[in-house]
Amino acid sequence: MTPHLPLLIPLVLLVAALLAPLVGIVRYTWVYRLALVAVAVDAGVALWGLAEVVDGGTMTYRLAGWQPPIGIEFVLDPLSAFFSAVIATVALIVMVGARAMVVEELPRKEVPFFTTVLLMLAGFQGIVLTGDLFNLFVFLEIAALAGYALVAVGERASPLAAFRYLLVGATGASLYLLGLWFIYNLTGSLNMRDVAAILPGSWDNPALAIGLSLMIVGIGVKMALFPLHGWLPDAYTQAPSATTALMAPIGTKVGAYVLIRLLVFVFGGPLVTDELPVADVVMWLSAIGIIYGSILAIAQRELKRMLAYSSVAQVGYIGLGIGLANPVALIGAVLHVVNHAVMKGALFLVAGTMRARLGHSDIGRIDAAVTRKLPWTMAAFTVAALSMIGIPPTAGFFSKWYLTSGAVDRGLWIMVVVIMVSSLLNAVYFFRVLERGYLRHDDDESLDAVVRDEAPPAMLAPTIVLAVGILALGVFNAVLVNGVLDLIPPAGW
């Protein structure tokens, strides 16, 4: 069983996605159970894989027994094992709460919705585990196509938001394919490790610079790296709450994974830092994105839209950690991936709960009565908000700590300033909501008259689990960093 782990992680979800419509014919309520069981099994397999990798090192799987440079290879190394564990675990927690939101917003659409969700998750796991650059493109498109469909079933304007996302996303994927053409013609190989071994001989070839730039732009679109983030706010706002709660925590992170894989592992240290300063470009764009996203988040009047702009800023932190190009900053970036996945999952679940319980998520209409109605939900929101700002002992503080240490190691004090300023901006837009939620009360109606009307347990439980997870990730971050993340940065980065 163990040698098959790298393949099993995406395969479980893919098989479940194919079975789901058939099960739906028999009884449509079973589809959600099938999806939940599939994601739970997948989370178990992914965590098992992570444990195996931490103990025994990298595992590879050769599809159909072909040797690596010719055949497609699936690789479970510390980076991919960590990402697949994060994807499966966060997806499982959100899936528990997703049903209530789907029933609320998309009645009788459970079968297609959860089938597409399984397909998207299978695509994410495939992206993370494949060791082949072209196979990565295929999984990227599987995940993206499922994502477009999931966005398009939301509010009235959602098909337009999805179409724009499709236009940008498909163009990005095409540019990745064009970049890959240059790399393939330069090296004659598509296997990541093979390409990484061949490339150092052709550093002075201009085709390498063109190919690398095109691939980074293509991935930047998927990751929503500033200034390629245009699709994200509309897509996240218009999409159904269940989609946003599933896509926002893990969708852009998969793009971040590909960026780490390409820059750190395929093209490698000296090439992207000294020969062609791609890492510096990524770093500066991320820094601008952090400030820009935070400022625009302040200007928003709707909670989901505010969180979407905040995602642009948070992706910037991850890009910053990659661009700083030292091991500490890379650990900070990967730690921020899991922290942000948990925080954004909790926040978007809260936004979904508000839409289900109050019928809106306008910041201007949140006041103490809301907190009275949804005390636990607002408590979870508060924990996640404090973590986004970066107040210890929440998880957000520690990833910012590693990022700041990385910036200090490089002697780039301006990046320290960027992280500090953006934390202040985060404080502005989250305290605005918290101040309304806990202190302000506009109506004449007495607060005592407000009846407690908490979300159903299936929605509340994942929100609380994620909020507790934020604190646990903060308190026990040293375990995670020493046990897993320290294995990720390769020698020479």
Binding site: L145, A149, A152, L160, L166, L167, A170, R301, R305
Partner: protein, 130 residues
């Protein structure tokens, strides 16, 4: 100048196609035309891959053991590179699936707004609450 053009016609043509496609995506106001632009971009990149697989005087990569007796030793330079073709077969499938999803979205947009013109859509959306 002549040697710049020599041997690269296919690439210059596909590069031109790529630019035409990107122009349509960026500038055209009708969403269907934008989608056509996306298809042109995809076609250009597929042609780019396929064009790079050719080799002068090479044949299809099928191993023929019934040929001349002296030709038993396989010489790789006699054959086209088959890998880009197989890869692009997959890329075409991806492109078709993307177009299918895009058409479904366009139908849905048209049913809701009665137009596919970007400026008119934005005009209509401005009147709606967020």
């Amino acid at each position: 100048m002549a040697e710049f053009w020599d041997g690269g016609y296919a690439y210059y043509a596909t590069a031109l196609l790529l630019v035409i496609g990107l122009y349509a995506i960026l500038v055209k106001r009708n969403l269907v035309k934008k989608l056509i632009g996306l298809n042109i971009v995809q076609a250009a990149i597929i042609l780019m891959w396929v064009a790079s697989a050719t080799r002068p005087d090479a044949t299809v990569p099928v191993l023929d053991t019934h040929g001349e007796q002296g030709k038993q030793v396989v010489d790789a330079t006699d054959y086209l590179n088959p890998l880009p073709h197989t890869l692009m077969l997959t890329a075409i499938v991806v492109g078709v699936a993307t177009t299918g999803v895009a058409f479904a979205l366009l139908i849905s947009i048209y049913r809701r707004y009665g137009t596919l013109d970007e400026a008119e859509l934005l005009e209509q959306m401005r009147g709606e609450p967020q």
